[in-house]
């Protein structure tokens, strides 16, 4: 008996480019299905890691003009060293080193478990004015057994060769002094070169544990 294969037009529905095949809402026919707009690109898991890097074209990482927005989610980052900063930098396409020029802002809210201190303040320790250092996302992270940081970082249109590259991050973490800290970093890489590499690291010591995920977000 000959093997029969179904072709794209063998199904009882009107085909649509780049759409999936799904049952309709009544489960009595087919319909085309829309793919989600947020796509997981790569997951990196730290294990006493000095750095975690996302490099376009390497290890299945996409960080180019495929997506206009990229989103990094960092989950339970735990440093090997107490009171260190979790940070990131970029390398421009064709460049060398994670040392792009950054101008940024940084502010934070904090509250201790003993209810003795609260604050909402700008923090000049962690902003940059045309600096080339790593941009802090989390400052003063504790390394106690149950202490960690989680949050997310948006990077907009990194492949643009016209505009600077904007980013903003929101982090929530357990400060070394038993504080809940909510930190916000926003800024731009002051370059018109495309950015295709992002690296995360602690200001001192390794990333003992944690997960960083890279997503691409469509605009249409």
């Amino acid at each position: 008996m000959a093997l029969t294969k179904f072709n794209f037009n063998s199904f009882d529905l009107t085909t649509a480019a780049s759409k999936g095949l799904a049952f309709n809402s009544s489960a009595n026919g087919f319909e085309t299905a829309v793919e989600g707009s947020m796509t997981l690109i790569k997951t990196l898991t730290a294990s006493s890691s000095a750095t975690l890097s996302f490099v376009d074209g390497s290890s299945s990482v996409v960080l180019d003009n495929t997506y206009p927005v990229y989103l990094f989610k960092y989950i339970n980052i735990h440093p090997a060293t107490d009171s260190t900063n979790f940070s990131f930098q970029a390398n421009a396409s064709g460049g060398s080193g994670y040392n792009e020029t950054i101008t940024s802002t940084y502010f934070k809210a904090e509250h201790d478990e003993g209810d003795s201190a609260t604050a909402l303040s700008y923090d000049t320790d962690f902003d940059q004015a045309q600096g080339t250092g790593f941009q802090t996302l989390v400052g003063g992270l504790g390394n106690g057994n149950d202490e960690s940081a989680s949050g997310q970082l948006y990077l907009f249109n990194p492949s643009s060769t016209t505009f600077v590259k904007h980013f903003f991050g929101v982090s929530q973490y357990y400060h070394k002094s038993n504080y809940s800290n909510s930190h916000r970093a926003g800024g731009y890489f002051n370059t018109t070169s495309a950015i295709d590499e992002i690296q995360f690291k602690m200001s001192s010591g390794n990333i003992d544990a944690g997960t960083i995920k890279l997503y691409g977000i469509k605009d249409s």
Binding site: N76, E113, N145, Y174
Partner: protein, 214 residues
């Protein structure tokens, strides 16, 4: 010869409404499921004159992050607090310990007042009565509160459980927009496995959706 097309019930899989046809995880058969996208809608609840909405299933190690989206929370009584509460016993008790921060920006419709401030009335220091994510929601017919709450790695049994909430409120008494920024941690190394939303007094209407992030 008549043209034959493959019909929905010709596939070797049980049809499921609005689900796509995929190869199964063993790659030896078909299954239904969601295609593409990393944001997966797990469940949705619509409140109509209730005091609480609880999510008691689906919060586990399947996802490293859960997102709750609150749509148009409208209280039955004016000027109400809206809280999120966490459970580490499957919803028997919503009293997990929280330490958190709270700040908000506000601006009145008449332009008379605008500010950014830390708000000590909404933060928690090892509190167990629930985390406020809105402070004074109006109950006018067009007044409501919307928010997104991220809960990270709730099944983790090593670290505390971090959450980040941002929401906007139509404030009840001053006709002002309030942008609430609440973040903190559930200070427990036990897994968080249920979440409840609670209006401060009376009842509320609205919709809350829970997503998992792949």
């Amino acid at each position: 010869m008549a043209l034959s097309k493959v019909n929905f019930n010709s596939m070797n899989v049980t049809p499921a409404a609005s689900k796509a046809i995929k190869f199964n995880s063993s790659n030896n058969g078909l299954e239904t499921g969601d295609i593409g996208g990393s944001l997966v809608l797990i469940s949705e609840q619509t409140a109509s004159g209730v005091q609480t909405l609880s999510f008691t299933s689906g919060i586990d190690s399947t996802y490293k992050e859960y997102i709750f989206k609150c749509f148009d929370i409208n209280p039955g009584t004016d000027d109400q607090v809206f809280r999120i509460k966490f459970s580490i016993d499957g919803g028997s008790n919503y009293n997990a310990t929280v330490t958190s921060t709270s700040f908000y920006a506000l601006h009145r419709e008449d332009g008379s007042t605008a500010s950014l401030q830390y708000h000590t009335s909404m933060d928690e220091a090892q509190g167990t009565s629930g985390q406020q994510i809105a402070r004074s929601i109006g109950n006018g017919s067009d007044e409501s509160f919307c928010a997104t709450v991220h809960l990270f790695d709730p099944s983790n049994t090593t670290f505390v459980k971090h959450f980040i909430s941002r929401g906007n409120e139509y404030q009840s008494t001053n006709d002002e927009s309030r942008d609430y920024n609440i973040a903190g941690y559930v200070n427990s190394t036990s897994a968080v496995n249920a979440v409840q939303f609670l209006i401060g007094g009376g009842v509320f209407d609205g919709t809350i959706k829970m997503y998992g992030v792949l």
